[in-house]
């Protein structure tokens, strides 16, 4: 009976989302303020009813109600409680419900934090998000109902959650990634609302910026969590594989990064307006593309859900209607948008434009490589795959170029910068970067390689550039401390995120070029040496877990030479009771400077174990960099000029008179970028 209440609640949520998609938009079109004001309560109602759906489905998982089909498919009585709850998003139906619930959460947040924006604008934003929710819920009701029952006889026990998913990474990664993904729906809705109203002005950019920042921060964490999880769970020591399902979040992230920069230019200088709108649409399209690829089963990947063509067609239809409609609207409105300010050929505008071009080209080439096998198969019928070398060949040079410009951009000035000024500011920084790029890897790792030198030099270039800019920005203040205090959160957020890029860059380069690994066959008492460490296989024992049995090996790691103990590692070979599925659990000794990593393979008849041991220097820096970037973007989103509601409201009223291509605005006050 309870699951039927969930079904009922889902239908009610559908009705609310239809109302939310129609009333505020119609109100905004006709000037009916009552209808416009329905957006917030309808959005809150949608959140409540989707929350009820989620709670009821969660209840079915927790109480082992195997009459519900998804519970029978993804759970089991032996499953530990935290995985029973999270098994909810272990399959297509439940994860899509979570996705839709996340969207309603964003709708609620938009309703709460938009008091300073014009009623008409908020109504349009909520209306667009309502239409999007309606299409998602319709998709669930039509093709993937999470409350479907097993009729006539439910199974006595469930088939169990995929063993690879029984992990902390699975608890954290999908909700975070979805939350970031869905955040781009909000940015998209802001863009559509601006296009509908014909008011693409600096105020619109200022309203969008905190949302674009927060969505980007969460998406960054979501991708980093996925990378971290794949690193220790899949057991091959990699942190990025260019898998077809890893790529769409990256595409969205690249568009989102371009969008953050482009929004800055649109707010400060009122140029790149139509470009910024296009980026918001593209970032949203990237997020839907990810959904489409995961759920249509068209591409082979570790993430693929069971393929069901009708689902793929439905999501493709949603993608076509929303992105196609948005592009049509864009095509009608864009010619009316006029940029008002000119800028010189050496200016911050140009550096940010280059940033955008590079990021969009990178996103486009990842897109091409990801979908090329699908197009190829459609045209020739042959199955192919695109290897990681393709992505590396294109991506690495683009990122090098991007980071070089990243050092210059923040120091350059709006409108016009002289080449001499840049040379004076950055000449010494460039020299120092080259020197340290050669010296640092040599000192820390006693090794030299040209790619690592380039990467470290680029990272130093970023960091010293930040220092140089801080010095310049505080030079004319009475004291340094006062100078630092006078800089805005927006400025600190920007420089913090750039610092995160430097940290990640070091991690990526040093892990890629200085990691070592060996696959070996070990009897008890055998040792293997790798990267200055000695791994001793001290024996194995049988252990019982909550829902699995395991053979656990003991591997003692000591430093070469002095024989100091470094770590005891306990990799396991598990067999899960419910499904009989084997699973390997690697053991890692993490540290800021290097990870020691053992993956068990199998146990031979004579008691020998096959194992792969890895030493991976600086791998933690990759995720550390992502965390720094996400925190910085959040700091930037709390900049005073977004918080000072009264002031913003006043400006909103001032700018409300501005129409597309007509009139001139007062320059917008506010510091930082």
């Amino acid at each position: 009976m309870i699951p039927e209440l969930g079904q009922f609640s889902l239908i009610l949520a559908f009705c609310l989302s239809i109302l939310l998609g129609v009333m505020p938009l119609a109100g905004a079109a006709t000037g009916n303020r009552l209808w416009m004001s329905m957006g917030r309560p309808l959005g809150a109602g949608l959140f409540v009813f989707l929350g009820i759906c989620l709670f009821i489905l969660g209840h079915a998982f927790v109480t082992d109600d195997f009459s519900v089909r998804v519970v029978a498919a993804q759970s089991n009585t032996l499953l530990p409680m935290q995985y029973k709850v999270t098994a909810l998003w272990g399959g297509h139906e439940g994860s899509f419900l979570l996705w839709t619930f996340m969207l309603s959460g964003w709708i609620l947040a938009v309703g709460m934090f938009s008091k300073s924006m014009p009623v008409e604008f908020v109504a349009r934003v909520l209306g667009v998000l309502g239409l999007l929710s309606a299409s998602y819920i319709l998709f669930m009701l039509a093709t993937s109902n999470p409350f479907d029952r097993m009729v006539p006889v439910p199974p006595a026990d469930g088939a169990d959650l995929n063993t690879a998913l029984q992990d902390i990474g699975f608890i954290l990664h999908p909700p975070t990634l979805y939350m970031g993904y869905v955040g781009y729906s909000v940015v998209f809705a802001f863009a559509i609302a601006a296009l509908l109203s014909g008011r693409l002005d600096a105020a619109w950019a200022r309203w969008s910026r905190p949302w674009a920042n927060v969505a980007w921060a969460i998406l960054t964490i979501g991708i980093a969590l996925g990378s971290w999880w794949a690193y220790y769970e899949l057991g091959w020591g990699g942190w990025w594989a260019w898998d077809p399902v890893e790529n769409p979040p990256l595409i969205t992230w690249l568009f989102g990064t371009a969008l953050i920069h482009s929004l800055a230019v649109t707010e400060k200088r009122r140029v790149f307006k139509s470009w910024t709108v296009l980026l918001a649409i593209l970032a949203f399209a990237g997020s839907l593309l990810g959904t489409f690829i995961t759920r249509s089963g068209l591409l082979t990947s570790v993430h693929a859900f069971a393929s069901d063509p009708s689902r793929g067609v439905f999501i493709l239809a949603i993608l076509g209607v929303f992105v196609g409609g948005a592009l049509l609207l864009y095509a009608i409105r864009a010619p009316l948008i006029k940029s008002e300010f000119g800028f010189g050929s050496l200016s911050r505008e140009i550096f940010l434009l280059s940033n955008n071009v590079i990021l969009v080209v990178a996103a486009a080439s990842v897109f091409l490589g990801t979908l090329f096998p699908m197009f190829y198969q459609a045209l020739t019928g042959d199955l192919i795959s695109i290897g990681p070398p393709y992505f590396n060949i294109i991506f690495v040079p683009l990122m090098i170029l991007l980071v070089i410009l990243l050092g210059i951009g923040p120091i350059s000035r709006w409108k016009k910068t002289s080449g001499d000024y840049l040379k004076q500011q950055l000449g010494k920084v460039a020299m120092a970067s080259l020197l340290l790029g050669v010296a640092l890897p040599l000192i820390v790792l006693l090794d030299i390689s040209i790619p690592a030198t380039i990467a470290v030099a680029l990272a130093v270039w970023i960091v010293l550039g930040i220092g140089r800019d801080l010095l310049a920005k505080t030079a004319n203040k009475p004291s340094r401390r006062e100078g630092l205090r006078s800089l805005t959160y927006g400025y600190y957020g920007m420089q913090g995120a750039h610092f995160g890029v430097a940290v990640m860059l070091v991690g990526v380069a040093l892990t890629s070029y200085f990691s070592s690994e060996r696959s070996v066959l070990l009897q008890t008492g055998d040792t293997v040496e790798l990267g200055g460490y000695e791994f001793l296989f001290a024996g194995s024992e049988r252990v019982a877990g909550p829902n699995y049995n395991a053979d656990r090996a003991t591997v003692l790691v000591t430093r070469d030479g002095d024989g100091d103990a470094v770590a005891d590692l306990y990799p396991e070979l598990r067999v899960y009771l419910a499904s009989g599925t084997p699973s390997t659990e690697m053991a890692i000794d993490p540290s800021l400077w290097r990870d020691l990593f053992v993956t068990p393979g199998e146990i031979r008849d004579n008691g020998a174990w096959t194992m792969t041991v890895y030493v991976k220097p600086f791998v933690r820096w990759i995720w550390l960099g992502a965390i720094i970037m996400a925190l910085s973007a959040t700091i930037a989103a709390t900049d005073r000029r977004y918080r000072k509601l009264a002031r913003v409201r006043k400006q909103a009223e001032e700018t409300a008179g501005e129409k597309v291509g007509q009139g001139e605005l007062q320059p917008v006050p506010g510091g930082g970028t």
């Binding site: 498919a73 993804q74 272990g90 399959g91 297509h92 994860s95 088939a159 995929n162 063993t163 690879a164 998913l165 699975f170 089963g297 082979t300 570790v302 993430h303 693929a304 859900f305 069971a306 393929s307 080209v361 080439s365 091409l368 490589g369 090329f372 190829y376 042959d382 199955l383 192919i384 795959s385 695109i386 290897g387 070398p389 393709y390 060949i393 294109i394 696959s519 070996v520 066959l521 499904s579 599925t581 084997p582 699973s583 390997t584 993956t599 393979g601 199998e602 031979r604 004579n606 096959t610 194992m611 792969t612």
Partner: protein, 156 residues
């Protein structure tokens, strides 16, 4: 005669068009260098692939065909689409779900004697899931993938 600002704009457009075509050409070149074709055991047995070419092969691991070296990580097995067999050699650690009767995809090259030297062996994470490539290979060979007790279930 064109007005100066028009000429400037034309210059910019031409520059962008030139840049774009170079980018597209380079991308397509990089793509063409990194395509791994997929072949079924029947296609390989029919000699559709030359020795030394990098490609992917997919099929079922033939029952009773797995042979492990006692003193090293070398392993050999036979992959089949129930019509033709292709022998595979691999040195390294096989994935968790590698076992006889299971669908696998291997990446590597054929040597002169027609043995596939795998550099990578992939098996899916869910034992009741079959990768689309293996499924297609079996269907092409005329075998019914679903008759081998395989059903597609959610896999993440």
């Amino acid at each position: 005669m064109m007005k100066p600002h028009r000429r400037k704009r034309l210059g910019v457009v031409l520059f962008i068009a030139f840049g774009m075509s170079v980018a597209v050409a380079l991308t397509l070149f990089a793509l063409s260098q990194n395509i791994n074709m997929f072949y079924s055991p029947t296609q390989v047995a029919n000699g559709e692939v030359e020795a030394g070419t990098m490609f992917r092969i997919g099929g079922m691991v033939k029952d009773g065909s797995v042979e492990q070296q006692q003193e090293s990580l070398a392993v050999s097995f036979v992959t089949t689409d129930y019509i033709h067999d292709v022998p595979i050699e691999f040195e390294g650690i096989l994935p968790d779900l590698f076992r006889e009767g299971q669908g696998i995809v291997a990446e590597g090259r054929l040597n002169a004697t027609g043995v596939f030297q795998a550099s990578r062996v992939l098996a899916k994470h869910d034992e009741s899931y079959m990768s689309p490539e293996v499924r297609a290979a079996l269907e092409q060979a005329g075998a019914d993938p679903d008759n081998h007790q395989f059903r597609a279930t959610p896999e993440n």
